[in-house]
Every structure is written in C-alpha cells, then in structure tokens.
C-alpha cells in the first residue's frame, strides 16, 4: 500500500483544518483566511493528483486499481463498526475534478466576494464544504459517505443562506436542507436495511463488503413481502437520497431557489460538485443497483436502474422546458443543471458508470464555467440578474463573453470540439441501445434540442443587442447616481474562467469513441486508441442525429431572439407573444411549488395543528377530566362532611346542651330553695315513718 493511499484522509482533512482555523479568525483577517483556504485546497489538489497518478500507474502495471484502508470506529455488542476510505479510479477522477474546480472557484471568490463583510466566514464555509465533499468521495463506507453527505448538506444550507438578512435567502436555505433531507431519510432507511442485510456498511472489505459478490448474491436472493428483491428495495431507497441531492423530479424544487446564495457557491456546490454527489452515489453503489438474480437476465436492466433511467429522462426534459421561460440568469442555469443531472442519471441507468460519470465530469467544468461567467456578468452589471435588462455585453466584457460562449456551446453539445458533445453523445447512444424502451432516447433528444434553444436565448439576451441596463436605471426615479456601465471583472475572476474554458474544450478528447480513455480508466483497463470505435454499431447515426438536433436548437434560438435585436426590457418574450398560455405555465415552473404548497406542506401543517390540538384538548382534556372528577369527588366528600356528618353531630350536641340547660334551672343558686326541698323531703319522710309505724 502506497503512501498516498494510507494518507488519503489528508485530502479532506486539510480543508477541514483550514475551515477550523478560519472559523477562529477575526473578521478583518481577510487575506489570511483566503490564503489559508486556497493553500489547503491547493495542497489537496496536489495530493489528489498524486492519488490520480497512483491509480494510473496501477492500471498500466496491471495491478488492482482499488485499494482500501479500513479502521475501527466504535464498538457495539460483539462487533466493531468500521469506517474506511478507498482509492479507485472513480474516487481518483472525482478527487481531481473537485479539488481543481474548487481551487479555481476559491480563487474566483476572492474577487467576487471582495467587498463582502463576512469574507472570512465565507471561506470557512467553503473549506468546510470542500472537506465534506472530499469525504463523500473517498468514503469506503456507506455510513461515512452518509455522514459527509449530511455535512455537505449543512454547508450547502449555510452558504445558500449566506446573506441571511435576506428573508428569501433564509427561506431558500431552509427549503434546500429540508427537501434534501426528505431524500436523505429514505437514504438512511436504505442504509439501515443494507446494514441489516449485509451486516456491514463497508463497500469493499476483502470480499466481505456490502458491494462485493457474496453480500450482493444474498441480497438478491432475499425476497421481501411484496416479492421484490431486497437489493432492489435498498437500491431504490438509496437512489431516493440521490434524487434529493441531485435535484431530480420530484425533489428538484430546492435547487433553483438555492441560487439565492453567492454565485461562487452556485458554481461550486449547486453546479459542479454537491449536486453531482447524487450521481456519484449511484455510481458508487452501482454494483447494488445492477445486481441480478441470475446471469440470464443480465442483458436487461434491473428495476432499480429502470427507475434511475426514467427519473433521469423525465427530469432532463422537465427542467429544460422550465428553463426556456426563465428570466433570471442564474435560474436558467439552475434548471439547466437539473436537466443535465437528469442526463447523468439517465446515462447511469442506460449505459453504466462510465457514461454517466463522463458527463458529470465534463458538466462540472462547463457548468461551473457558465456560473462563474454569469457571476462575472452579475458583478459587471452591478448585481443585476434579470437577462431582460442586460444586453450588448459582448463588447464590454470580452473575456467573459468568449469563455461564456465556450461554456454555452459545450453545454449545448456543439459537435466535435466541445466536451459536452462527446459526453452527451455517449448517453444518447447508450439510450438508443437500451433494451427496455426507446422513449428515454427521444426524451434525451428533446432535452438536447431545448438545451440548445434556451442557451441561445440566454446568450442573445445577455451579450447581444444594446445594453438595456442604463435605460432601466434611468427609468427608476430613485437612481440619483450616474447610470452604471457594465465593466469587465478583475483578473482573479477571469483567470479561472479561461482555465475552465480550455478544460471544457480539451476534456472531450478523453472520451471519444475512438479513444475511450475515460471508460477504460474507470473499469481499470489500459485504453486502446482505434478509429474503428467510430464505426461501431449505431455510433455515427447517433452523432449525426444529435448534431442535427443541436443545430436545429441553435437555429430556433436565433430565429426567435437573434433576428432582430431586443430593444426594451419590458417587451414580452418572443415565445410569450406566440404562446402566452404555455409560456406562463413554464414560467411558473409547472406550478410544482404551488402544488406542494397546497398538498404536502398544507397537510403537514394541518397535522401539526392537529397534534397540538390533540395535546391541548384530548390528552390534556382526559387529564383535566380525571382531575375534575377527582375534584368532584372531593367536593362530594366535603359536602357529606359539612351537611351530613357535621349537622347530625351538631344536632346531638344541641340536644345534650338543651337538656343540660333544663336541668341546670334546678340549680338556682339559692340555698333556701334547696333547703326547702330538703324540708319537704324531710317532712315526707317523717310522715311515711309515722304512717308505716302505725300500720
């Protein structure tokens, strides 16, 4: 075991240490805290590169590509609960991506947040986030993964609510935490189930781990009450966690609101890394997701993977549709992120780990590029986020425009030169060949069309035409300052943009059908270079189709928004003129928030009120009834005492008293009357004696 594997824990520990030290820093120690955070992240990046090269070396030498370190944590009963970390290709590639993108965003933040009062705290939270995210990546135990996963959620909460004085930010932070926690609780139940089935939560433990053959076989064979294999149930529950974190339908509602956070946060957490953690989780437990009962059914997808595919495909189209009608520059990107995450899920479902992960990596680069570009635009436009009030920025912010264009083309999947094309193409190709249904392919294609369309719309609104910022500000009577002119951002912000833009282009090279380096790296094989890869069944037609779709989307976007320059911020959208009804539905995000508001949330508060009522009136009522009964009884006892016992006793006493009084009258106190009695008695006695003597 090499040094880097033994000390892999240092990668998350360094940012954690930086977070701890910045937490103690004073508010004015800006340079110190930024340097600490960036330094720690840089060191982590270097270590990640070490880890990456270690895996590369292992693969080229034909050694096993996965190494784990497990350690006991605490004991319960007769066993020890163990945690551990691992280094395998998936970990290595994620480590490099997260530390690299993270480092760039840290640098970018020094520019973006330069004027914020709570600069040091921002870097504290960012470092904590990086530590937790890296913990998710290296975990070799579902428990450790879950713990870091929750900490990631916490930092996301803290950073979304960073501008806590804005009520909307505080509400968005709470919404994000709670929505993801719904998924996390399903995840927790799945984890408990897995623990009880497999007896361990370590992924790999020399044959005894829960993702290894013996445990999987047992779980597949174990049927639950409703005839579903335990493995399927567990996989679905864990997937629910991923749905929450990755903003899949129906738990996607938090992600667009999360844009209340500072833009670097949106770029790092809500575009590149944390939201991708759900995809990473599915990839990590892929053996469980894909566990079959026997070899015969190995060709068809498992129930779990079918669910993953369908959720992903639906999310991809659903979010893309909403993105078409949004006007906030960050919200468009947020819905785009949701949509792309759907793609990744679909890719995992139809094509396996490599397909989904490749899109994750390329997306991380170009989407963080887009977000940071958007941040640069917002910064340049003095905190304006509405695309209708921008315009004409291509000349004023040339670097931002160029890099943004690269990101946009990569996201649309512009053929051959951009990474997004190759990764999206791999997904579509896999979807085409899916054994269950062709529909995900069509949905994916539709999503690609929409993506090209809304990105074109956004770019036309933001960068072309004339600036509508000034006119808007002049219209506001309160604006007594000179109308602000947009300006290019400082180099600390543009430098990461350029670096990311080049990555967004170059990265495509590692995943072409001719040189599927990424695919073979993840499966731990040495890559082979062959142009014949293009000629494989179905690849060229799919490439052609997707190229056509992208061009169609771009052309549609130009048709609606590019033909004539947009003149005023208050004009209705071109689509709105065409189809106002549909546009309004899309603008209101299919009324999902309202739906939840009127169902789940309302039921929940009704239950809460009910429970409170139960406490106050029913339980307390029973208690009060009992106590009132007791009080009544005691009242009864008291009245018996007062009116029955006491009265009769008093009566008895009175009788004695009156008779005593009667008798007392005899005792008049006059001696003579007593004597008189004595005299009468004496006389009577004498008479009796005389009378008796005579007879």
């Amino acid at each position: 075991m090499t040094w880097i594997v033994r000390n892999l824990w240092l990668i998350p520990a360094l940012p954690a240490l930086a977070a701890g030290l910045t937490a103690l820093a004073k508010r004015h120690q800006r340079r110190y805290s930024a340097a600490l955070a960036i330094g720690a992240m840089g060191l982590s990046f270097l270590l990640s590169l070490c880890a990456f090269s270690q895996v590369m070396l292992a693969i080229t030498h034909g050694q096993p590509s996965r190494q784990v370190v497990n350690f006991p944590w605490f004991e319960f009963g007769n066993q020890w609960l163990k945690l551990g970390w691992m280094l395998d290709p998936l970990t290595a590639i994620m480590l490099v991506m997260v530390t690299f993108v993270g480092l760039l965003i840290f640098i970018y933040s020094t520019g973006y947040m330069a004027h914020d009062d709570n600069f040091t705290r921002f870097f504290c939270f960012l470092s904590l986030f990086a530590a937790a995210m890296l913990g998710v990546i290296i975990a070799n135990s579902l428990l450790l993964l879950f713990m870091c996963w929750e900490l990631v959620g916490l930092t996301s909460y803290l950073l979304i609510g960073f501008w806590y004085h804005k009520p909307s930010a505080a509400a968005a932070a709470k919404k994000a935490f709670i929505t993801t926690r719904i998924g996390d609780l399903a995840f927790l139940v799945g984890m408990l189930w897995l623990f009880s089935q497999a007896g361990t939560l370590l992924f790999y433990d020399q044959g005894a781990g829960c993702l290894e053959h013996s445990a999987l076989t047992a779980m597949v064979a174990h049927l639950t009450g409703i005839g579903m294999a335990a493995s399927t149930g567990i996989a679905l529950l864990i997937f629910a966690g991923a749905v929450g974190k990755s903003g899949q339908v129906p738990l996607h509602v938090w992600l667009p609101d999360a844009m209340e956070g500072p833009t670097p946060v949106s770029a790092l957490i809500h575009a590149a890394t944390m939201v991708a953690a759900g995809v990473f989780l599915v990839a990590r437990v892929y053996p469980l997701m894909a566990a079959h009962s026997d070899a015969a059914s190995a060709l068809s997808a498992t129930t779990a993977l079918q669910v993953v595919t369908w959720i992903g495909a639906i999310t991809a189209v659903f979010a893309a549709l909403i993105a078409v009608a949004q006007n906030d520059i960050k919200r468009i990107l947020a819905y785009s992120t949701v949509s792309q995450l759907g793609y990744m899920m679909m890719g995992l479902g139809v094509g396996g780990v490599a397909v989904g992960m490749f899109h994750l990596i390329t997306h991380a680069f170009f989407k963080s590029l887009l977000f940071m570009g958007a941040g640069s635009v917002i910064h340049g436009c003095h905190e304006e986020q509405d695309i209708r009030r921008m315009g004409g920025l291509s000349k004023l912010m040339p670097v931002t425009f160029a890099t943004y264009a690269v990101g946009m083309l990569a996201l649309c999947g512009f053929p051959l030169f951009f990474s997004g094309f190759w990764s999206k193409d791999a997904i579509l190709h896999a979807a085409m060949g899916w054994s269950i249904s062709r529909i995900p392919f069509y949905l994916g294609s539709l999503g690609a069309l929409l993506t090209a369309f809304y990105m074109t719309r956004q770019v036309y609104y933001v960068f072309f035409g004339t600036s509508r910022l000034a006119s808007h500000h002049e219209a506001t009577p309160a604006a007594h300052t000179a109308p602000p002119t947009p300006h290019e951002s400082p180099s600390s912000m543009t430098f990461p943009l350029v670096l990311l833009a080049s990555c967004a282009i170059l990265l495509g090279a590692v995943g072409t059908p001719a040189w599927p380096w990424f695919d073979s790296f993840l499966s731990g094989e040495a890559p082979i270079f062959a142009f014949a890869g293009f000629l494989e069944h179905g690849i060229l037609p799919v490439m052609l189709t997707s190229t056509l779709i992208v061009f169609l989307g771009l052309a549609l976007g130009w048709w609606f928004y590019g033909r004539q320059p947009i003149l005023s911020a208050d004009l209705p959208d071109a689509l709105e003129q065409l189809q106002p009804g549909i546009f309004r539905v899309l603008q209101n995000k299919f009324y999902v928030d309202e739906l939840y508001e009127h169902t789940v949330i309302r039921w929940n508060s009704a239950l809460a009120t009910f429970s409170d009522w139960l406490d106050r009136w029913v339980w307390n009522g029973v208690v009060m009834t009992v106590s009132n009964l007791v009080l009544g009884l005691s009242w009864l006892a008291r009245s018996t005492d007062t009116y029955l016992v006491n009265t009769s006793f008093d009566e008895g006493c009175n009788t004695v008293t009156t008779s005593g009084k009667l008798l007392a009258r005899l005792q008049s106190g006059r001696t003579q009357s007593y004597l008189r009695l004595v005299g009468i008695a004496f006389a009577a006695l004498v008479l009796v004696l005389i009378w008796s003597a005579r007879s």
Partner: protein, 103 residues
C-alpha cells in the same frame, strides 16, 4: 307525760322554729341564728337522752354537748366571716340576691 317526752317535745318545737327561720328569712344573719336554734335543739335532745337514759353517771351526754357548742361557736364565727365578706362584696346580706352558684 314523762319528763323525757316533754323535753323532746320542747326540742322538736325549738328545731321547728329554727328551721322555719332558716327557710323563711331573707337576711343571712337571721338564717345563721335559725341554724343555731336548730343546733341547740339537737343539744337539748342529747342532754335529755343522757339525763333520762340508762347511765346518767357516765357524763357522755355532757361531753357531746360541750363539743357541739364549741363546734357551733366556730361555725358561727366562720359563717359570720363569710357573710361579712359577701356583704363587703355585694353590699347586701339578702340571700335571694346571692345566686352566683346557679348552674
């Protein structure tokens, strides 16, 4: 009529006079005098029974009477003292006014 029975008749008369005085009079001093009369009636009986009894030479009757007179003198002294004390307290010797022993 024998001398004994005439003595007894006299004594009974004397006793009745004393008793009537005790019952009828309202003045405490007169009541006390009535009591003395009754006592002397008893003394007279003693003397009579001794003089005309079986052993007149034994002087028993005289001894009784001397004692009795002594006791009566003491009694009269105590009785008068009480009456004076009551008189001081109540400014009266009328016996029917003094009924504080009433129950």
């Amino acid at each position: 009529m024998t001398p004994l029975s005439s003595c007894l008749m006299l004594s009974a008369l004397l006793f009745s006079v004393g008793f009537a005085g005790v019952l009828m009079r309202r003045n405490a001093i007169l009541i006390l005098i009535g009591i003395e009369l009754m006592l002397n009636a008893a003394n007279l009986n003693f003397i009579a029974f001794w003089r005309y009894g079986s052993a007149p030479e034994a002087l028993t009757g005289v001894m009784f009477v001397i004692f009795s007179i002594g006791v009566a003198a003491a009694e009269a002294a105590v009785g008068l003292a009480l009456i004076i004390s009551i008189y001081r307290h109540r400014k009266t010797t009328q016996i029917d006014r003094i009924n504080s022993m009433r129950g």
